[in-house]
């Protein structure tokens, strides 16, 4: 045990020097439960706790108690940019720390084999602020994207071995995008535009969970695509008075951003009485994200923009384990591989996306027989990625995307508390 930890420590340090870190693919946030995060965000095949409401609603049928679970992570993310050689220019983000959260509650209904639950969670989000006056300030200076899903769920145990579940999703979305405008003012301010909008949408989440043997279980889940369509968002232009005709006051915009569907499979192994292992795979249907277009109510001829994104569907592969160190203490480790859905030529300042390897660890501690504390930390590692002018020209995005290298470092500690009754 000690030797293996030393090996892990050493390899983590090697990775530190070989690579750097970034958060989840695109603008996805796989931070749905602290116990799962600590295990490489696995759990589709093994309902570890009621966070299964979001990971796999079918797993809720196996949980035989009422419970509440409150958790949150904190994202510490820093993205660096370096201009192509021979430029000496580098820029950093000064992104605010966000706290994606999850709240779950489950209820063993009077109806036999029927469980009810609700999950409130944040499966997508983005918060990024580039340093003031950075090179690509005309493309983006700051973005904030928030998506909160509220998901009432029913789960039913069909047999001793099979459970199914389904949830209805009510989604709230908010987006705020700021960028500087390529015009200059005689007065001492920087012309810019702030786009701000909110919306709501609906979707669903379904899953099945089953036991193949007493030692092996499986799960499959599908969460539907939800389109965040912002209609009549505020487009607030700060411009010189003489340019008011081009950038009218009180303008409004429409835009649509898909929150892609996710298909997940998982296998769970009870390796020994005190060791549990999980293998998960998620397919995120990123190909739904073809364009990010902004259409304006006033002066659309000049202001409308079309941003091709052309993301690709991508599989994420995950592995995780949990070891009962004592009766009250569980230790967890996990890892995943999350290839970028974004091709060269489509990297944008709001999602300078990279292939990543996630490494996580954490523990659970039973304060009382009914109350657990869980803590996790997730590190996401990647190598720098370069987008050249040629990449952008090849796909026709030159002038609308940055050229240069990106790398992101993130570490995400999290904490949750659960209570069973």
């Amino acid at each position: 045990m000690k030797k293996s930890l030393t090996v892990i420590t050493a390899s983590l340090l090697v990775l530190c020097f070989a690579a750097s870190t970034v958060l989840a693919g695109g603008y996805q946030l796989n931070l749905l439960g602290q116990r799962q995060i600590a295990m490489g965000h696995t759990g589709v095949g093994m309902p570890l706790d009621i966070a299964t409401i979001s990971l796999n609603p079918g797993g809720l049928a196996t949980i035989d108690h009422n419970a509440i679970l409150l958790g949150s992570s904190a994202t510490f993310i820093s993205t660096h940019y370096r201009a192509p050689a021979p430029s000496s220019y580098v820029a950093k983000t000064d992104s605010p720390t966000r706290t994606p959260f999850s709240i779950y509650a489950s209820y063993v209904t009077p109806v036999e084999n029927l469980r009810a639950g609700i999950g409130i969670y944040t499966p997508y989000g983005n918060a990024l602020r580039w340093e003031e006056g950075w090179k690509y300030r005309f493309l983006l200076s700051e973005i904030s994207l928030t998506a909160i899903f509220v998901q009432p769920t029913l789960s039913y145990r069909i047999s001793d071995r099979i459970g199914v579940g389904a949830g209805f999703i009510f989604a709230y979305g908010a987006v705020n995008v700021q960028r500087d405008l390529p015009v200059d003012a005689q007065d001492d301010f920087t012309p810019m535009v702030e786009l701000d909008g909110t919306t709501t949408a609906i979707g669903f989440n379904v899953g099945v969970h089953g036991k193949i043997t007493d030692q092996i279980s499986f799960g499959a889940a599908y969460r539907s695509q939800i389109d965040m369509e912002i209609s009549g968002g505020d487009a607030d232009f700060t411009v010189p008075t003489s340019l008011g005709g081009t950038f009218p006051e009180g303008n409004r915009f429409d835009a649509a951003l898909p929150l892609p569907a996710v298909l997940s499979f998982g296998l769970g192994f009870m390796a020994t009485d005190d060791l549990r292992l999980n293998l998960d795979a998620n397919l995120t249907f990123w190909s739904a994200y073809e364009n990010l277009n902004f259409e304006f109510e006033q002066n659309p001829e000049t202001l409308n923009s079309i941003g091709p994104r052309n993301y690709n569907d991508r599989w994420i592969f995950r592995v995780g384990g949990e070891y009962d160190a004592t009766d009250r203490l569980q230790l967890r480790l996990g890892s995943y591989y999350d290839p970028s859905p974004v091709d060269e030529g489509y990297l944008t300042p709001e999602t300078p996306d990279l292939d990543r390897i996630g490494i996580s660890g954490g523990f659970g501690f039973a304060i009382t027989p009914q109350t657990d504390l869980n803590a996790s930390v997730l590190l996401v590692l990647s190598t720098p990625r370069e987008q050249t002018a040629q990449d952008a020209m090849d796909v026709g995005t030159f002038g609308t995307v940055p050229v240069g290298e990106f790398v992101t470092r993130a570490w995400i500690p999290g904490f949750s508390i659960s209570h069973r009754f």
Partner: protein
């Protein structure tokens, strides 16, 4: 206890990882075979940072040499001393303040944006003299041979305010800064003096005398060649390395391209009225311009018509490719029938033959500049082809730059000189040329960090 130490080791590893920095290190520019310790910029108004029709401090601070010197500093460059004027509206040689964009109400009450002087008169920039050695030896108005002329400071107040001696030459004063590196951008005025005065002076000539060159003439080839040889030879003889920059064609410069040759838009009725008006004045039928509904060429004076044509009939419609200059009184076009009822005087147009003179001179001078750069192994910077490409637009960092007036972002409000953003574009082209020639790795600047034309 053992378990606790294992745990703390694991926790330590996590903490170390959390602190680890991304691997994109800042590059350190290198000077290669060049030595940027003492950079001296030699040239005219473009080098001085003259912009918006005046020399003013903002323009100087954003001159392409000052931008370039900032980049050289990252590669061992020294301080760059500019003969800065006091903050203010600046001045040109005619005591006029810089131009700024102003909102004005037109006669029909519609607001229009137009360049206007920032003050009634320029600030006094000439009474305070500057002590050298000076790194920016850009002298507004200077032609090639002026750089070698003793006592030029007595003729040109922009040199007068910084000359080391009443009989000093610009080149001599430049050498006092002991340049290890130079940029030489000279020759623009050798052509522009003729072009901006509408081709009213002497056109391109192979031979001539510098003393006889008037302000609206093209510098004769022998004078230009001899001057460039002398300047380049002096610089090379001192052991300095540097970059020679060529001259843009007038068709890349908004002063010549903003007013369209066929901007006279008429209704059928107006066309008819104009024809009738000319007939009423006794203009013979074959001399009456063929006004048509829609776009028409402006009516311009053409003093070069054959002798058989009486002087009062030496006018015609402008043809495609001919240029109407930005200096034309545009309110007279709108309100007094200039260019329709009365011809636009010759000083505001470049006609076909005159454009040929300008083109021939520009090409010959550029060939000479390239030969001089080759002879002494200096970097040669082809700004001309970059500005040529900018006519259809260049994309930098998410913004489109063009050579169009006001909106284009490259040229300032006088239509000839650069905005800060235009200076940054030029500085980057020069950086590229220096790096290619001397194996240096000077860093380009971010275009988005520099302003174009400022709007009220």
């Amino acid at each position: 206890m053992k378990r606790l130490s294992q745990l703390s080791l694991f926790a330590l590893a996590i903490l170390v990882l959390a602190q680890c920095e991304p691997t994109l290190n800042e590059r350190t520019p290198d000077s290669g075979q060049a030595d940027f310790n003492s950079y001296v910029a030699i040239g005219n108004s473009l080098t001085a940072g003259y912009a918006d029709n005046a020399l003013h401090r903002d323009g100087q601070l954003n001159s392409f040499p000052n931008i370039l010197a900032g980049q050289m500093k990252e590669a061992g460059g020294g301080d760059f001393f500019q003969p800065l004027v006091n903050p203010g509206v600046g001045s040109n040689a005619d005591d006029q303040a810089r131009l700024v964009l102003r909102m004005t109400m037109g006669p029909d009450g519609t607001p229009t944006l137009a360049p206007a002087p920032a003050a009634e008169s320029g600030q006094d920039i000439f009474s305070r003299t500057v002590e050298g050695p000076i790194n920016n030896m850009g002298i507004p108005g200077a032609r090639s041979f002026h750089l070698l002329a003793p006592g030029y400071g007595n003729l040109n107040p922009f040199f007068g305010r910084m000359m080391s001696d009443p009989m000093a030459t610009v080149l001599g004063d430049a050498m006092m800064a002991e340049p290890t590196f130079f940029t030489l951008w000279i020759g623009n005025n050798d052509v522009l003096g003729y072009a901006t005065s509408g081709g009213t002076g002497q056109g391109f000539a192979e031979m001539g005398d510098p003393a006889a060159v008037a302000g609206n003439d093209i510098t004769p080839m022998n004078v230009f060649s001899g001057s460039i040889d002398a300047i380049a030879g002096t610089l090379a003889g001192s052991g300095a390395r540097g970059a020679v920059i060529n001259l843009p064609n007038v068709t890349s410069i908004p002063f010549f391209t903003t007013v369209p040759w066929n901007g006279l838009v008429l209704s059928a009725e107006q066309a008819q009225q104009l024809r009738a008006g000319y007939a009423a004045q006794g203009v013979p039928e074959q001399f009456i311009p063929d006004f048509q509904p829609g776009q028409n060429g402006f009516i311009i004076a053409d003093p070069d018509m054959p002798d058989a044509v009486p002087p009062q009939l030496r006018f015609r419609m402008a043809q495609e490719g001919e240029l109407i200059l930005l200096s034309v009184p545009q309110n007279q076009i709108r309100e007094e029938g200039l260019g329709s009822i009365t011809p636009i005087p010759d000083q505001y147009t470049l006609r076909g033959a005159q454009i040929q003179e300008v083109r021939q001179a520009t090409d010959a001078f550029n060939t000479k500049l390239q030969e001089a750069a080759n002879e002494y192994n200096f970097a040669f910077v082809d700004v001309n082809s970059v500005l040529e490409a900018a006519k259809s637009g260049l994309v930098f960092e998410g913004t489109l730059l063009t050579t169009s007036f006001v909106q284009g972002g490259v040229f300032s409000l006088d239509g000839v000189h650069l905005t800060p953003r235009g200076s940054a574009v030029v500085a980057n082209v020069i950086v590229e040329g220096i790096n290619a020639r001397y194996g240096s790795t000077l860093s380009p600047v971010n275009i988005s960090a520099y302003d174009g034309v400022q709007f009220p």
